[in-house]
Every structure is written in C-alpha cells, then in structure tokens.
Symmetry: C2
Subunit: 430 residues, 2 copies
C-alpha cells in the first residue's frame, strides 16, 4: 500500500552531517520509501554559501533563504543540521508554525531551549525528534524515551564526547601529557581548531542536560549541569589511576538522589575501574551506561560523531516522523511530569581520590586524617610515598557528599604540613 | 490532558515474567499513566493453576479461561507471557480478531510464525510488539526497526543466550570442562533442569531468525538458521583459543552476503579476539553487535533474561502500544519488502581454527597443506606440537566458504596420517 505523493524534506545545512543526509536520501531512496510507506523527496537545501560545489545535490534545490524554505507550507519534515542557537531556533519554530515536523541534531539548542521547542511542536501538532543530538549514531534517545518507558531510570553515565575520549585514551595508552595528546587529536581531525567546547566539557554538559531531562521526566537546564573540563588531567593522574586499577574518562553523569526527591547532572573527569564496561571504550567512540530499576544495567556503544553515523541517526528520525505523518499522529512529546528539582553539585555523593604534597615528618597523616574525620568524610585507603623531606599522600575516600569533600580540601590547604593539593578526582562506577 | 477512561491490559501468563509485569503495573501505575497519557489497568490474568497464591494480584482478576479473556472485547492490550506455540498462537490471533493489540515475549512463536501473526495484526489494524523476545531487557528490536530505519544493516552478531554465556565464561575463567560448568549454572539457577534449548542453540536460533528478518527486511524462518550447540566445546578448545588471543562464545550471526543478494543466519560456538567488545561479556549478560553502513559499529549490552528485566521490555512495549491506541494509529508492522533469499551455511564465508591429531612423522604438514590448497582454503597459520610419535597440528585459515572447509575436513579425515579431527571452530569478529 505505497502512497505515491512523496513526503517532502527540507534540509537546513549541508555540511558534515547535512551532506551525508542528502547523499543517503538519494542513494537509498527506495529503501526509505519501502520503510516509510511513501517516497520521500529532498525539496530544498538551505546553506550559507550557495556557490560551493555539492556533489550529488541538484543545484536547483540549493537556497540561502532558509526562512522561505521552512515557510513554503508543503514541507513535511525539516531537518535542522545548521547548529548553534540562531537562526536554528527561529527556523525550527517557524517550521512548526508552517505545518512541518522537525528532526534536529542540535544538542546546544536542545539543551538550552528544549522546553520552548517542545511547546511549539505540541502547539502546532508536530513532531520534534533529535536522536543525533546525543551520542551520534548510537540509538539512545529512543531507547530511553520509548524502550524504557515502562521502567524507572536511576542513573545514566556515559562517555558522550569523542574528542575528549580520544585524548584521554591516548594519554592512558602512551603516557602522553594533555597537550601532546590534544595535538595528535587535532592533527588527526578528532579535535577542532578551537577545542574549547569539547575539552572544557560544554558539549558533554549539553548532552547531560538532555539525557537527564529524558531519563527522569523532568526539565534540566544547561545551567543546572555541573561542568568541569579535562584540561588539567595529567600523566601523573593516569599513573595514580593505574595503581588503583582504574583509568580516567570524562563522564556525563545523571543521577536520581537516593531519596528519589531530586536529580543531579554533572560532567567531569573521573576514575573508573578497568573492569567497568566504560573503561574499555577506546578512541573517539562513545558509550552510555544506563541503570534502571527493572532492566538493570544496560550499555549502548558506538560512534558518537562523524557525518555518516550522525546522518544515520537523523534518517532514523526522518523515517519515524514520516510514518507518524502518514498515520496522522505524533510520537511522544516532552515528558517532564515529575518536575523533580535539580540539586547542586554539593549534594552529589561519590568517592574521591585526592593527592596531597606534604611535609615528610611524623604526625602528618594523623593531622590529615583528622581533617577528613571532622568533615565527615571517611577514608578508604591511604598511600604514603616519601623522599628527601617531601612526601605525597594519596587518599581514597568512601562515598561522601561533594560539599563535605570541598570543605575537607579547603581545610587541608590551611594545614602547614600540606604543601599543596596536587589533584582531586572523583571515583565512579563501583 | 489525561484521559480518564483507563486502557485495559490482559495478562496471559503470570510466571517469572508475568508476575513482574503485574507487579510493576501496580507499583508504578502513576508513572505509566503519565507517560501514556491515560491510566492503564490490569483487567484480567490468565494462568493454568488458579489456586496458586499470587502476591499483589487481586484474586478476582485470575482466570483459567484465557480465551474468554482475550475475547472480552474491552481489552486494549494483550500481554502474552505464557510461552510455547499453542495456546499462545491462537490466543494472540484471537486477541487481534477481538480488537486488541499484542505484546509478546515469545521468541519461539515469533521465530516460527511471525509472518502469520503480523498478517493477522495488520488485517485487524492492531499492533504486535515483542522487544522482550530477543535479549531480554536490552533495547534491540526497537533500535533495529526504528532507530536504524534510515540505514542499511550488514551484520548482527550477538550473545543472545545467557545460560550458554554463563557456562562458557566459567569454562574460560576457571578452566572447567563443559559438564562441570553446566552443573554450576544449574545449581545457581542459570540453567534449566533440561538445558537442551539453551545449550543446543535452539533458543539462540529463534532469536537469530527474528533478528535477521528485522535487520534485512526479509523473512527468515527458524529452519533457515544453521544451528550448532556448544556441548562439545572443551577445555582444550579454550586453551587453543587463549593461544590465539581469543575466547569462545556461542554467537548468533546474521549477515548480508558481500554481493547483497542474499542473507545468512547461524548459531554456533566461535572464537573471537579478546579485543572484540563481545569478548568481555561476562556471566549471563547478553550483548549484540550491529554493523550498519552509515552508523558503523554499534553494541547493545545488558541482562538477557530474568523476570524484572524482561518485564521492563514488555512494559516499554505496553506504553508504546497504548500511546498508539490513543493516537488511533499503529506502529511499524512487518517489513519484509526486500524478499532476500536465505543462503545455506555452505555459502557463509569465515575463518576456521582446526585441530588435528596426526602421526608425528615428516611430510604430514605437506600432506595436510595440500588438502587445504586443493579445496581452495588458504592457510593463515599452522602450529605443530609433537610428542612420542603423536602430534597435533593446529591450522587457522583465511576466510573461506563453509562448504570448502567441510570438503577439506572430509578429505583430511581420509588421510592415513590424520588420526582424528579434534575440533573445528569458526573464528569471528576480525
Ligand atoms: N559533525 C558531527 O559529527 C556531528 C555529530 C552530532 C551532531 N552534530 C550536530 O549537527 C549539526 C551540524 O553539524 P555539522 O558538523 O554538519 O556542521 P557544519 O559542517 O559546520 O555544517 C553547517 C551547515 O549549515 C550551513 N549554515 C550555516 N549557517 C547557515 C544559515 N544561517 N543558513 C543556512 N545554512 C547555514 C552551512 O552552510 P555552508 O555549507 O554554506 O557553510 C553548512 O552547510 C550541529 O548542530 C552539530 O552539533 C554534528
Ligand atoms: N524468564 C525469562 O527470563 C524470559 C526472558 C525473555 C523471554 N521470556 C519469554 O517469556 C515467556 C514467559 O516466560 P516465563 O519464564 O515467565 O514462563 P513461566 O514462568 O513458565 O510462566 C508461564 C505462565 O504461563 C501460564 N500458563 C501456562 N500455560 C497456560 C495456559 N494454557 N493458559 C493460561 N496460562 C498458562 C503459567 O500458569 P501457572 O502460573 O498457573 O503455571 C505461568 O503463569 C516465554 O515466551 C519466554 O520465552 C522469558
């Protein structure tokens, strides 16, 4: 029962991702038609530079007037792969107003303004899908929103940025420092000329906000996400991690508080045991670990970026949205009914690995231990190494609130015998 | 916009899975209602033994007349967790005829009669969902059918049976033989009293048929799946595997032929390199590796069975089907438009690890090598070990058609100098 009038797709942006979307729509048109139940047609492609040669795309489809394209009125699905906040946001809401559904890969926009976009989609009876916005090709948004819709998710913990994972993996496997590993990532095209969004954790924080919102059925804004980059991770940290049977990953962690009354979302480097499934995620791969009450521990693994993997996710959404249109229905919209508040980082409870430079004399350990005890942070193990009047003390704690740990560190810095706090790193995944 | 008239769910079967479905429906009723947009109500529970005490279930809901329950006419969703072919099949088609959609966890039935069930669902405008039928709690059917609907899947390779993975993992980690590891699995409740369906690969073969059909958009019957159990895997095989940097897993492998014109589906033990993501899947966990043209290499990991993980998958489907009903729509139906034929095992191309007991005298290797060459099977490495006139020869081949390998082995057996073929194992994942 194939409908013959094609569904029309407008492509906004034809860069790394958009060009692959266009290519696959052309080369796999028959498969897409069979799966949707109607042919699907590329009706227009908005770009900034109209004269750039774009292989395989009919030049008559190219336009610089994205607004006119989304206002045409005959478009079924708008695929937004421009990126950034504006004009993407206005184009998406204009699309809804003119009767089109939207598929987007724009994590920055979704994290910042997801609620507004969802409201606009709902008001106009349209779909908003964005599988590609988190972890590229890995099916993650749909499993969280649909497959686990009958379950209660308690934690989502993942490697959601390929650039930083590539750098950390290099540091781990070669003993390189941060700068050296970053240079290699840049040379190989894994890091952008300005790597700030990746290495400072902004990209991962946007994804954490999106994931936390979906997992806990509440609204989590970008500002709610605690964020710490990985530029200060050193070769010495990796050496310490190895001694503990761990490696270091930049993690996005979304958790429901033990009492269920609030949630947290954070991005920071952390030590995880080598036996944890996330420890063996190499190179620029992404992986997301999900803990749900009934399902238990799940993991999703795959390429987190790249033109064609991301296009795969976009096209999966295009097929779903097209099927919905043929059904005259829409898929699941925003689900934020729990309205759970987002707690600050101080309330996060986890373990810590703290490396101190201390004077090499008797009584230092007792002093340090007293400070931990006074702040209610219980110590799991201590390792002392001394030479020439200088010593280092590595303390691994039991689970404690982040605020208690911060208080501990502040007090430690005031001790005469503590020359410096060489590093503080959270320990996850146990 | 919550509808107040509840959607009605009939539960067929209230055993390991069904009792958990009932429990979660009761304890998480508010969450389910919020996610669906309407309350959902357990309207009846069909069992065999009505007098068994079933905690938390209103006794007035219990019935032994499953047929009457599915014929009631006011049921929205029938959850079939009885298992087996009959009465499950008739109950499902009766449900469709009486206006209900169906969620099932029944891999045996889906593998044997999926096409009939789909046809009946379509004829009556109902949904048929079965996420729980393959790999328990792991979202897999929905990602393959929906997230990857814009991509071309070339291969699905997975550990889809927890019992056999538990046994093989034990053999690998402790050096135990098959029987000893099976006994432990039985004692711990990982293997059933009669483990035939698991250890002979029948359960995995049903899942392979389902996965191949979905991945390649064609029909794959249970009979089309080549099946070899793992009862003959020995401690010596594990020792050989270790020498190659491999471990042994029982794999379900669905592949598109290199020319794209046909597909294959098979279940057998295989050596895989320790560096492969599937190699580190421990205990009774399941994991499925998917290779798609655009998305690249994805992996899905989690608990493959158990009451509550399986119930999570069932309830995800219940939520989806209920949402569809509120939308007066149905989800994706059968997709078998490619009509790709299924080739036999002889046409599968892979690598082999063959262990031969041979006479320890000069010229044996030359003889053996000649046989391989005559059958067009190219040798990658050979390892010879000899003592007291007896020797063993371990040959690892390059990729060759299974038929060529079978021919080789047949010819080898006829050589005077070959005392026996100790083991033949396929090598995958490279
Ligand atoms: N790249 C990935 O691996 C990846 C992975 C996941 C998600 N994403 C997301 O996908 C989106 C696109 O990423 P990308 O890597 O494809 O970006 P890109 O290569 O920079 O492409 C951006 C495209 O948008 C066009 N464009 C920019 N401003 C425009 C405007 N005002 N009007 C019309 N067109 C405009 C550009 O036109 P010109 O071609 O004329 O310059 C270009 O075609 C972003 O939201 C990104 O976060 C990307
Ligand atoms: N267990 C798992 O981990 C798992 C995982 C994935 C998929 N599955 C699938 O889920 C399904 C159910 O498995 P299960 O482990 O829950 O099985 P189970 O524990 O044996 O439960 C079967 C249930 O069906 C009832 N039943 C049997 N025959 C019936 C009939 N003729 N009419 C009405 N009720 C009948 C039984 O009633 P009584 O209670 O009165 O005996 C029992 O409640 C199977 O298809 C299985 O393959 C199971």
């Amino acid at each position: 029962m194939m409908r013959t009038r094609p569904l029309k797709v407008a492509l906004l942006g034809c860069g790394v991702v958009g060009s692959e979307v266009a290519r696959i729509m052309t080369t796999h048109a028959d498969d897409l038609a069979a799966r949707i139940g109607a042919p699907v047609e590329l009706a227009g492609v908005a770009v900034r530079r109209p004269d750039k040669v774009r292989g395989g795309i009919d030049p008559s489809l190219i336009t610089t007037d994205a607004t006119a394209l989304v206002k045409r009125g005959d478009i079924d699905v708008v695929v937004e792969v421009i990126g950034g906040i504006e004009p993407a946001r206005t184009l998406i809401t204009t699309a809804f107003e003119h009767g089109a559904s939207v598929v987007s890969a724009n994590k920055a926009l979704l994290a910042q303004d997801g609620a507004t976009l969802y409201a606009s989609a709902q008001q106009h009876g349209q779909d908003l899908y964005y599988e590609a916005a988190v972890a590229g090709a890995i099916p993650l948004i749909r499993p969280l929103r649909e497959s686990l819709a009958g379950d209660k998710i308690n934690r989502v913990m993942g490697i959601v940025n390929g650039t930083t994972n590539f750098i950390l993996d290099k540091m781990d496997s070669t003993g390189a420092g941060y700068q050296e590993a970053l240079d290699e990532a840049t040379a190989l095209g894994y890091a952008e000329a300005d790597p700030t969004a990746d290495v400072e954790g902004f990209d991962a924080a946007a994804k954490a906000a999106i994931l936390a919102g979906i997992a806990f059925h509440t609204r989590v804004r970008l500002d709610d996400v605690y964020r710490e980059g990985m530029t200060e991770v050193t070769a010495a940290d990796f050496a310490s991690a190895k001694q503990m049977g761990c490696t270091i990953k930049l993690l996005a962690i979304c958790e429901r508080a033990a009492d269920g009354g609030s949630v947290t979302a954070r991005v920071h480097p952390a030590m995880i045991p080598l036996s944890h499934p996330l420890a063996s995620v190499r190179e620029a791969y992404n992986a997301v670990f999900v803990e749900a009450e009934a399902a238990g521990r799940l993991m999703f693994y795959g390429p987190g970026a790249g033109g064609s993997p991301t296009a795969s996710a976009v096209l999966g959404d295009v097929v779903a949205v097209c099927r919905n249109r043929l059904n005259e229905a829409t898929g699941p919209g925003e689900s934020a009914y729990t309205q759970l508040p987002v707690s600050s980082m101080g309330e996060v409870v986890t373990r810590y690995h703290i490396s101190l430079d201390v004077a090499d004399k008797p009584g230092v350990l007792a002093q340090v231990a007293t400070v931990f005890a006074e702040h209610g942070v219980s110590i799991d193990t201590v390792r002392q190494q001394g030479k020439d009047g200088e010593a280092s003390l590595v303390v691994v704690t039991h689970r404690a609130p982040d605020a208690a740990l911060s208080g501990t560190v502040e007090a430690l810095r005031k001790l005469d015998t503590v020359r410096g706090v060489a590093s503080i790193m959270r320990v996850e995944g146990e």
